[in-house]
């Protein structure tokens, strides 16, 4: 008898816990788009200016996404991005009880395009290289738009 009460109490707690979790998640929408692999500082440690060729670069970090000509020489561009978007729709809960679902949404999207650029001399050896910019890591769930 004591065991039955304990089991029943546990299952009630489980149901209440699940309901609380659902209420907290109500209207949450989390989106993430990852484009290509990140090029890290450790990965490009091997590059030696005036020595490393485009072939060696491709062997280590793959072929560039783009090759363009600049006034300093040919530039190889490696692109990647991590787009995070989260939304919280306060009207979602009303869908459970109302035929009409009002919308009151807070949404935030962060697009962080990043680039690694390598400039080559006419012999296709590295003349210069660098990251376009390094952004700080944004949290995945961050819907406050203000």
């Amino acid at each position: 008898m004591v065991i039955n009460v304990a089991v029943r109490f546990l299952s009630i707690r489980l149901v209440v816990g699940a309901l609380c979790f659902l209420l907290l998640c109500a209207g949450c929408s989390i989106r993430r788009v990852v484009f290509n692999d990140v090029v890290t500082l450790e990965q490009i440690n091997f590059i030696r200016i005036g020595q490393t060729t485009i072939l060696e670069l491709a062997d280590h970090i793959g072929a560039p996404d783009e090759v363009a000509e600049s006034e300093f020489g040919v530039v190889a561009l490696y692109n990647w991005s991590d787009t995070k978007s989260a939304a919280l729709d306060f009207g979602a809960l009303a869908r459970l009880v109302l035929p009409y679902a009002p919308t009151m949404t807070l949404n935030r999207t962060g697009i962080t395009p990043e680039q690694f650029q390598v400039v080559f001399d006419p012999q296709w050896t590295v003349r210069a290289y660098g990251f376009s910019r390094r952004t700080t890591d944004e949290p995945v769930v961050w819907f406050w738009p203000f």
Partner: protein, 128 residues
């Protein structure tokens, strides 16, 4: 298996997968790696490269030379669209092939990088 059991299994599968969306998108054609070995540096001409792989997606001029650029993009996106909670994730990767020609239109260098083999259907939006 009886009809009732089949119907029950089908219903369970439907219930478990409701709200699931699986999307796949590609741009261009996958680059045939076996063809790359047929491009001989210092011998294969521009015309032969075109007949082997097709016309390039882009032609770039660099260091006074022509560079053929072929690319292929692969995107995989699973999503879970529930009544109150949505998870959507998309993973996009690209393959790139560059054929560098000398001033006589002969292949001088081939640079190829394949990333699409690592594209995954990953739903969980957290983590790397």
């Amino acid at each position: 298996m009886s009809f009732a059991k089949q119907l029950a299994s089908f219903t369970i599968v439907l219930i478990l997968t409701q709200g699931c969306v699986v999307t796949r998108g590609t741009i261009g054609e996958p680059i045939q790696e076996d063809v790359l070995s047929r491009i001989k540096k210092g011998a294969t001409t521009m015309t032969e490269v075109v007949s082997l792989i097709g016309a390039p997606d882009r032609i770039v001029r660099g260091n006074d030379r022509e560079i053929f650029h072929y690319y292929y993009y692969d995107a995989k996106s699973p999503a879970l669209l529930l009544l109150l909670l949505n998870f959507i994730r998309m993973d996009i990767k690209s393959d790139n092939l560059y054929v560098f020609f000398n001033r006589d239109g002969i292949a001088e260098e081939v640079v190829y990088g394949k990333r699409t083999g690592r594209t995954q259907f990953r739903l969980w939006p957290f983590g790397d």
